[in-house]
Symmetry: D2
Subunit: 313 residues, 4 copies
């Protein structure tokens, strides 16, 4: 029995993680904190959940085998400092590619989880982008473009008119153009995978739906067979499915699961490569991948607790 | 040239009214107030609008032929007291069926606008419900049920997580059951139209779209020919269209216009009557009807400035 | 190990049932037919499904312990005739309240499944409506109104412009007013539960979302304590949850689960009762309830295979 | 008074054009054909429209000053051949960049409409893409990427399960990757504007909403000041608005209008340029631009009949 605790369990990613963990009989959940909802039943926020949210301090005082941080970056930094002896999986971007943590993008970075004390769980957009380009990182020119759209849960709970349905419904727009926090994360990962220094142009867009990311990555092939590289790199990898048609890489086929769908198109005349990548931002993009990392950290199969999830058909 | 001012012009109904008024060459807009956006260009909130929002105090100090109040009820009460000599059209529910105002539900209550100093513009749900039942008010038993669903702009601008797209998308629920402020308004109007005292059961529901109300009214016929009463009552009435099929009374055929679509079904065996009623909550349900009332107040055709609006097809 | 077959497995309810059955280790699925997709992988229609659709004739030739019919009513009639010795659960409305079948609305009609040869699985709207009124059936006047809205999967797969996103998005309308096939089903069930002959007025509406039904039932209390009757009738009943607030009975809290949320409001002055009822039309409204019936037919707990489903939060 | 006829008036672009034309008092509409709806009232498809659809043959036999073809490409080719003396504006892609027609992308190609017999009205995606890149065509390397998402009306009326709301709702996917018919149109226009031969990589995506295109164009600056080039190229151009923030280039601010919103971001370190471009696919992307072309063809101001359209706020 592995004991776990969650800080920030009332956010969208935290709730998803809490639900995943509560389905498992091999996990004991010692606490799920929420500053805002401490004392209230978890089921108030998500039907079917057991137990109540507790305060931050109760979390700090309760030892467990692994702690998940589904908190904002500053809170994550504070918790890592406050819990020096805990094994931690941080879902925020506070520790990605720093020297304290390992980077848990799966299946690209799988070797060190077993002994890591701090695992930086990847960003949702970054996961979609990096999985689209990882097999090609050494074969392409080091300048890539990623155009990606996400449902609104990626922005977290927002008590803001700007995120109201009246303002966002039927809309679409780009934001943080040339300026999104996931851009260096993508560049760092591609560098780690290939040794090349990449120029990454990343444009995130807000979709008027709740869940799901569709990312399209554009690159130019220097040499090699891109399709073959894709098939070999992802051969027999859990949660990754290569599709024959771009039209099959669609949100409705991944939302509700930990899967990633990918499609690669190559223009042989020009070397232009266009990759589609779809995932659920709250599962593979956050809580699902965090559970994969926990599984590896404790020597379990990576897929434990993540199979049999249902697409929201 | 009629001069007008708008208090509360940055809300959804206020903006809609401002747009309608700016299209007219016979109207001079003297001010459009917004506590929150004073000093900012109106076009920031709605592309194509001219001018800037001004402060409440500028509105108070600027005389004009008619003042629209697109403010919350308490603010409307204060403004009516503060502007004793102004002609006022109040879009809030502060003055409906009080003894200071006339009730401007059109075409049911049309006789007094020409000389009224204070016109209480009807509520959006109430407009849909009353238009569904007005022709039958004397023919039915005085107990009716109204089940109505509205887009989220009916709730106004909301900086609240509860109204975020992440919470409301793909959802539907009833609220204020047996307890909505429009219930007595509907009962009062039906009483005024028939002399009967009505028991009104009204259930509002929140739809995950921006605009539009579909109301279904249930009544039981005491005597008379309900279909004929409908046709005669609404013969040649602007903005009212009787449809042959219930399926034609749908939001997409009214949103963006000042029209009301109606369908009546009668079960001849039981006398049960079921009426469908659809309108745009921001036009016929608010700003459009307010402009109809202004037109009547100044002796203009009721349809001035409200024709040629386009459904959001 | 119970062996099962599904006719009509490529429709929305059939796919949902196939997915539920494939999660169970105590079920052997012998066939899943589809006229249209025979020979194609089930995963083409719903990611994660195993196996291929087979032809109707293969289904006819393959014996199994129980056969599910997720077929249109005429096809269901033909299959019941063609399979005289099979135990059958029919999801269509071909056999509801006829003399060959038992009616499987759960938990209201639970006694006979163990020995039934033909179980008529209830309609989706009917399930929502009957569960809203069953505890009150003997306490109310026998005239009820049900106003219910459903997502589009309730209409099945449609290759029709009328059901295209371009036509239905952001829309809402009533259809089959005073004329829907579930109306007598509701009346029959209320009669069976109370002995009273009911006049049922039912208005279905099409929502621009995929899944979920919200039904509101209106009745008038003759005598008794409606709230108490509700609590007692549903005490400890699986899948039924009584909510304190009408606002909690909402689609997003049931879609993806087999749950039913209910809320009752009573106007003590008039005896008017308003009940909210929400469920997922493909689970409790179709495939989930069919699996409940199968469980009872084979002496299993009613909840087997239906717990731990996740709301589409 | 200019007399006009429309072939294919019952499609989404045709209906939009018919509505625009019916608002004008200087236009006489001689016919609006529809193979499928001939004999039916236009108001059946779009409330507020006058008249009835007529057959193809009536269109062929009715002379008028200008004929609009809102027909599929093959039908457009046949009509151009069948009407050798008519002035024609073809909304299909049958004649774009052939030697019979002029290309009517406005304001980039404005000189020849006055005397043209055949005007090829641009594609919706192509309009968004070309307007995003036209000011830069001579300043950038001739290799561009365009990632664009469109509402479903861009695909026309579809009686197909694939386009049903049940299949498309909450979804997003790319289609015709490296293979869309608008790709050479974009390349041809950029060549005509700059003399450079462009490699165009274009990825269209289907959004689960009705109207609107958001296109993002990626280029690399060779020399010059991209922001200044933008401001100068579009100075005082009707319908074009340059926004300060990418977040302001959003569908809800253009849908329902003939406007195009643009935003340019430049990474000065790398020369990477990212342009956002938003328009309504049925107005600026089809019927609105066709009316602009008609205005120019008859010596009228380009904006006639296209001002005062309302965003679908």
């Amino acid at each position: 029995m592995t004991s776990v605790g969650i800080f920030g369990a009332s956010g969208y990613a935290g709730l998803e993680l809490l639900w995943l963990l509560q389905q498992r009989s091999d996990i004991e959940i010692r606490f799920a904190t929420s500053d805002r909802f401490a004392g209230r039943a978890c089921a108030d926020l998500h039907p079917g959940l057991l137990g109540c949210f507790v305060s931050h301090n109760i979390g700090l005082d309760t030892p467990c085998d692994v702690v998940f941080l589904a908190t904002p970056p500053d809170a994550s930094k504070g918790l890592v400092a406050a819990l020096p002896s805990a094994r931690i999986i941080d879902l925020s971007n506070a520790h990605r590619f720093d020297d304290k943590s390992i980077y848990g993008l799966l299946p690209c970075f799988t070797s060190e989880q077993r002994h890591a004390q701090l695992i930086a769980n990847p960003g949702c957009y970054a996961t979609a982008a990096i999985l689209a380009l990882a097999p090609l990182a050494s074969l392409i020119e080091p300048s890539v473009i990623i155009d990606a759209a996400s449902g609104t849960t990626g922005a977290g709970r927002r008590a803001s008119e700007d995120y109201s349905l009246s303002e966002l419904h039927d809309d679409l727009f780009a934001y943080k153009v040339l300026n999104h926090a996931h851009t260096p994360e993508i560049a760092n990962a591609l560098h780690a995978l290939s040794g090349q220094h990449f120029e990454v142009t990343f444009t995130p867009k807000l979709l008027p739906i709740r869940r799901g990311i569709l990312a399209t990555a554009y690159a130019r092939l220097k040499n090699g067979d891109a399709r073959k590289a894709f098939k070999e790199y992802y051969a027999d990898q859990a949660f990754i499915r290569l599709e024959e048609k771009a039209e099959q890489v669609r949100l409705r086929r991944v939302v509700g699961t930990n899967d990633v769908l990918l499609h690669i198109a190559v223009d042989d005349a020009t070397g232009r490569v266009v990759v589609q990548s779809a995932l659920d931002n709250l599962l593979k993009g956050a809580a699902g991948q965090a559970m994969e990392n926990m599984n590896l950290a404790f020597g379990l199969p990576r897929t434990t607790g993540l199979q049999g999830l249902k697409v929201q058909s």
